[in-house]
Assembly symmetry: C2
């Protein structure tokens, strides 16, 4: 059945970030709707941001295109130039290799949600804009290090 | 600017289908929001269905994953088993190679919209479920033929 039963998609909480960054993701959860529907070529996730929550540490992707559409409430897109408010129906696109890092925050007092689509490249490097961290992804395995490749913490 | 200015995205009308199928797409238009934001790895299009409109001839993809989220109004998902109503926020996923063809129709009297994401494979074959047609895509060039490869019409 191609229609995804959203009531049966588990709400994923927690973060794969190393300390101390994992704690910053406390207001974020997600529904992996693409996985639930059997997709493998790109991720399609509904990100749920509680008031004060943020989607990720600010980052950019070397090899993977990313696309966002807000589906509930209001968020701020944060990038080098500052904050841009986005509301239901607004879209944003992040082509692979654009080094202007991005993340989203919910600065309102009600829940906000957005759909995010990201290609799944075999090899990927994500670089975090505001902290000394990068992530190297090979075949679905994530390794977080400092930008010079040394361990964190 | 990653936020897509939806007011500047051209409304695409018409169809690349050969006759007589192009005429069946009269109630369909689209906004190519991913292209507008510079994405290349997948298409991200908002499909606009006027009352009575349909999204495509019913079809399935050999190599490309596809994902849909309804963003306005109500549509019917049509596949082998019949019709499934979908409304705002509902999602559907169509993994590559699943031969249960799909399309969407707007059977209401108000406009409906959905976001559709589809991988852009270098080589693709789309097969139409209810008519003697297939499309072969190589490097972005579309060729419509009968299922045995002979010309249409």
């Amino acid at each position: 059945m191609p229609k995804v039963d959203l009531d049966k998609v588990p709400v994923k909480t927690g973060s794969i970030y190393p300390d101390p960054y994992a704690a910053e993701m406390a207001g974020r959860s997600s529904l992996r709707v693409g996985d639930a529907g059997g997709l493998t070529q790109f991720g399609a996730n509904i990100i749920i941001l509680a008031p004060g929550g943020k989607s990720s540490m600010r980052h950019w992707h070397l090899n993977e295109d990313e696309f966002v559409m807000v589906t509930q409430g209001e968020v701020n897109l944060i990038e080098d130039e500052g904050k841009t408010p986005m509301t239901v129906g607004d879209c944003a696109a992040f082509p692979a290799g654009n080094a202007n890092g991005h993340c989203f925050e919910n600065a309102t007092d009600v829940e906000a949600r957005f759909l995010v689509i990201g290609t799944r490249a075999q090899s990927e490097i994500g670089t975090y804009s505001d902290i000394d961290m990068k992530v190297t992804v090979e075949g679905g395995q994530f390794e977080f290090t400092r930008k010079d490749g040394t361990p964190i913490g």
